[in-house]
Amino acid sequence: MKKIEAIIKPFKLDEVKNALSKLGVQGLTAYEVKGFGRQKGHTEIYRGAEYRVDFVPKVKIEVLVDEELSSRVVDAIMEAARTGKIGDGKIFVYPVEDAIRIRTGERGTDAI
């Protein structure tokens, strides 16, 4: 099992979600986050006064998938989230030791 975590542009969430559900991914957790990487935020100007915005709003998603689906999920996120411009985000893949569905006690891939 893998946990796939991706930081994406907020407006790409729907596209990514649709791409994943096409692959049969059933669950997804999304967080509204802020941060910066190479994309360094921007300066907002109102009536001559400048407001520096350092942290850029992004969406972080997490999905848990079967080992074999992992690379296809990564590809799907990459394709759906890409605009080709700065700030498209990053994808991280982690190994997962176990998963348990609380209601039934099912473990491992059954719990995904």
């Binding site: 986050v33 802020k34 360094k40 907002e44 100007i45 915005v53 709003p57």
Partner: protein, 876 residues
């Protein structure tokens, strides 16, 4: 304390009592399923409990370890709390107390055990206690909760004299000077409860017991009536003049309804619970006979009934407590103010309480009820709840549809502008049906639930809160989180229009999808009736129609796509409208619930707002002329292309090209560009064309580093003079460069030369020729035309565009000038997205819209200075 039974064997008689109890429960359930009733079943359940407790108690007295006592003398079982009130729902706690005056503590302990253990064995949650009258009274004097639970106590079985003693003691306790304290305690407890559980009348998942407008509010009225007024029932309170018969009836009906709901809720949850979660609402509505009909869902009808009852309780309670405060808590001197003055005809003020002078004030002075509420807010008066009936009666007698006048409208807007203090006034107006009188369309959103996890309140409350939030923004409540908001509020010219839009923005809800559009239509009618001038009506309905435009765009569209921003700007057009729309969006979110607003959404929305604002202020895309031109051009291009290439491909092309392109190019040219880009695919394509004696070269190629400088260089190599250039980049990375050129010595450029140029551009892009070397050679052979050299100048402008850093270069023309400038830019890793090059006689003005290597504006001061210096160096 560990639960340890004195006697393990359950006597047969107890077993049969238990059977009787279980049989009783089954019957109650059957009755409920057949015809759910509220109070009747609650009382029957209480009666069943009485029977069981009496039976167990008789056994308890006979149990082991109990000294023989004259049966039922000096001991009594008292029902307290809800059980005392004979109001038990399936999983209500059973609060009982053993009241006694026995000295034999061993026997008391045994009796208590013998009574309470079997009750626990029946699975009941029993609140229990064993006290003497004296102990009870002492505890009541220190614990408010215990005191109120005793108010409705009654004797289930046992010595009646003992209970009578407790009653008298309690009455004495309350009648002494502590009455005032008792009232204060109730009010304090009400406040705490309402703060913790919120308003049942407006919350989408309300608490039907503890919330404001819930059962507890009815109980609290009864406590006060028993404790302070010597009344024991709703009818007593009515007779005492503290409730109108209308209000007393409303309370009775609400009590009946809520108990019915609570009974079923307990059955559904299979435990004690008071919160009406979404998951239960559907089932309860069906069980209580609210069915889907005529497009209205049963669950919606059910919740509307619930809200109507809860708001009745809320309204009646407020009026009741106001009266009691007047009577018990107001300073003497204040109470004695008997002078009634009439600040305006039809309105009477008594002390600080304002009311209509009589029901006939309404037909006599149209709009007087609105003026009354305005006066209350303006002069900080209180509403005389006792006389609210005047309004209801007056409205009833005044059958004609209400006509708005300028004065009524002004008063109404004054109320809307009052901020948080307007909230109870608006609620009262809503409860009285006053809003519906003036705005008949309000009927549909009044008490209307919304079924999502996002909203917290019913539509009417949400609308009130939006109005309040607008005013709070203006009052600076959000200065710390976003100081921009108040500044923008201050700049808005017509706050009244914003407030009306706030009140009406969701008026289209309750009839399926598309509430914004529908709401805009309804708003037009309402505003016209209000007598607003046409242009104001237009603004308000525009705001209603587009109240989701900014939040939806902020979260679902790419804010770094200039086209997205320009489209919004072209929709909104006016700076003032944009500001109103921005504040309306924020107030709307703030009024929705804690989940709808946070700094994350705030930053996205602010970014969008500022970008759109800058586009509007620059006016480039939002003048009527520009908008018309862009629309006309797009339409012409579509007619020309759609039939040949399909609508989809045409639309995509128009979407991918920057709007500045649509604004600058003629539709015929655009059609040609489209076809050139379509046929060239990924290869480089160059088309030359003579136009008004000038040669126009159109190059299409995939954008790549240095594209522009290499093309300019290849042109310089052939002695071509660049009069103008426009470069555009399609969002998928295709570059379209249009050069207007002449020969250095002759006007036209021959066909042969065109071929040579084409060949060398391709070779230059492939890196097969050294532009640097060849141009240096070439430059030696050309004289600089200008005799007087002006000083070249380079400006870097970061303020005019939110998307690009703009570099403006002024210089004397010379061969290879554009090549030199753009080559420097390439060396500095600048990506030219858009360029406008123009040559006027010998003067060149070149404007470049650039990004850094990461596709962002240049923010690094040092980098900006280096760009300037490097370009200047190459110019000298």
């Amino acid at each position: 304390m560990p639960y340890k039974r004195a006697d393990q064997a359950i006597p047969a008689r107890l077993a049969s009592i238990s059977e009787r109890y279980k049989g009783g429960l089954i019957n109650l359930r059957k009755e409920h399923d057949a015809a759910p009733s509220g109070l009747e079943l609650a009382q029957k359940r209480s009666d069943l409990m009485d029977e069981i407790i009496a039976a167990i108690f008789k056994e308890a007295l006979k149990g082991p370890g109990v000294a023989a006592s004259p049966a039922l003398k000096g001991i009594s079982v008292i029902a307290v709390g809800g059980y005392g009130r004979r109001e038990l729902c399936p999983f209500s706690d059973i609060d009982v107390m053993i009241l006694h005056q026995l000295r034999d503590s061993e026997s008391i302990t045994r009796i208590a055990e013998n009574l309470f253990y079997p009750l626990w064995d029946l699975g009941l949650v029993v609140g229990h206690g064993t006290r003497t009258v004296k102990e009870s009274l002492l505890m009541a004097s220190t614990s408010f909760e215990f005191q109120t639970s005793l108010l409705e106590a009654r004797s289930v079985i046992g010595d009646p004299a003992l209970f009578q003693k407790l009653r008298e003691g309690l009455a004495k306790q309350l009648r002494s000077r502590k009455g005032k304290r008792f009232l204060q305690n109730i009010l304090k407890e009400n406040d705490r409860r309402h703060k913790q559980y919120g308003q049942a009348a407006y919350l989408l998942e309300p608490d039907l017991k503890e919330g404001e407008g819930g059962l507890r509010d009815i109980h609290a009225i009864l406590w006060a009536a028993i404790g302070l007024l010597g009344a024991t029932s709703m009818s007593d309170i009515e007779r005492g003049g503290y409730l109108t018969s209308y209000d007393a009836e409303a309370l009775k009906q609400s009590l009946e309804f809520m108990l019915r709901v609570r009974n079923h809720l307990h059955y559904l949850a299979n435990r004690k619970t008071d919160r009406l979660f979404f998951e239960h609402q559907e089932k309860i509505s069906k069980a209580l006979g609210f069915n889907d009909r005529d497009g209205t869902r049963g669950i919606e009808k059910f919740m509307r009934s619930f809200y109507t009852h809860a708001s009745a309780v809320e309204r009646v309670s407020r009026s009741f407590w106001e009266q009691l405060k007047d009577e018990f808590l107001s300073p003497k001197s204040f109470k004695d103010i008997a002078t009634i003055h009439a600040p305006e005809s039809g309105i009477a003020v008594h002390g600080n309480r304002a009311s209509l002078s009589s029901p006939s004030a309404i037909p006599e002075h149209p709009g007087v009820e609105i003026r009354l509420f305005k006066l209350v807010l303006k002069q900080n008066l209180a509403i005389d709840f006792k006389k609210l009936g005047f309004i209801r009666e007056g409205l009833r007698s005044n059958g004609t549809p209400v006509r708005w006048t300028q004065e009524i409208r002004d008063d109404f807007i004054d109320i809307l502008s009052a901020g948080e203090s307007a909230l109870p006034i608006l609620e009262t107006m809503d409860h009285l049906g006053l809003l519906t009188r003036y705005i008949p369309e309000w009927e549909r959103v009044s008490c209307l639930p919304q079924h999502d996890s996002y909203h917290l309140y019913t539509v009417d409350m949400h609308l009130f809160l939006t109005v309040v939030e607008i005013q709070k923004i203006g009052a600076g409540s959000y200065d710390t989180s976003n100081p921009l908001l108040r500044q923008i509020y201050d700049e808005i010219g017509r706050k009244d229009l914003l407030l009306i839009a706030g009140l009406l923005h969701d008026i289209g809800k309750g009839a399926g999808k598309g509430h914004s559009k529908r709401g805009a239509k309804i708003t037009k009618e309402i505003c016209a009736r209000m007598g607003l001038p046409a242009r104001d009506t237009k603004i308000v309905s525009f705001l209603v129609e587009n109240h989701l435009l900014l939040p939806d765009t902020a979260q679902r569209r790419d804010l770094n796509d200039e086209n997205v921003i320009i489209d919004i700007a072209a929709t909104v057009v006016r700076e003032d409208s944009l500001k109103m729309l921005y504040l309306l969006s924020i107030a709307d979110s703030l009024a929705t619930g804690p989940k709808a607003w946070d700094t994350w959404k705030d930053s996205l929305l602010r970014e969008l707002f500022l970008k759109v604002l800058h586009v509007i202020i620059s006016g480039e895309y939002t003048s009527k002329k520009s908008i018309d031109r862009m629309r006309k051009t797009a339409a012409k291009v579509k007619t020309a292309l759609a039939s040949r290439y399909g609508e989809e491909e045409t639309d995509l092309f128009l979407k991918q090209m920057p709007h500045s392109y649509l604004l600058a190019q003629a539709s015929d040219d655009i059609v040609e560009h489209f076809e050139q880009m379509r046929t060239s695919g990924d290869s480089i394509s160059i088309i030359a064309k003579q136009k008004n004696g000038v040669c126009e070269l159109t190059l299409v190629a995939r954008d790549r580093p240095g594209l522009f400088y290499k093309v300019s260089g290849a042109l310089a190599l052939h002695g071509v003079n660049i009069l103008g250039a426009q470069i555009y980049t399609r969002s998928d990375g295709m570059a379209l460069d249009i050069f207007k050129v002449t020969g250095y010595f002759e006007h036209g450029i021959s066909e042969d030369k065109q071929d040579d140029i084409r060949r060398d551009i391709k070779r230059a892009l492939e890196g097969k020729i050294s532009l640097e070397y060849r141009i240096a050679e070439k430059a030696k052979r050309y004289l600089t035309k200008g005799i007087l050299k002006g000083t070249p100048n380079v400006e870097v402008d970061n303020a005019s565009s939110d998307f690009y850093t703009i570099i403006e270069v002024h210089a004397e023309d010379r061969i290879g000038l554009l090549y030199s400038i753009t080559r420097v830019m390439h060396d500095l890793n600048l990506d030219i997205h858009l360029a406008k090059v123009s040559t006027n006689v010998d003067k060149v003005i070149d404007v470049f819209y650039v990004w850094d290597i990461n596709g962002q504006k240049l923010y690094d001061e040092e980098q900006i200075n280096d760009v300037k210096r490097a370009i200047l160096m190459t110019l000298n």
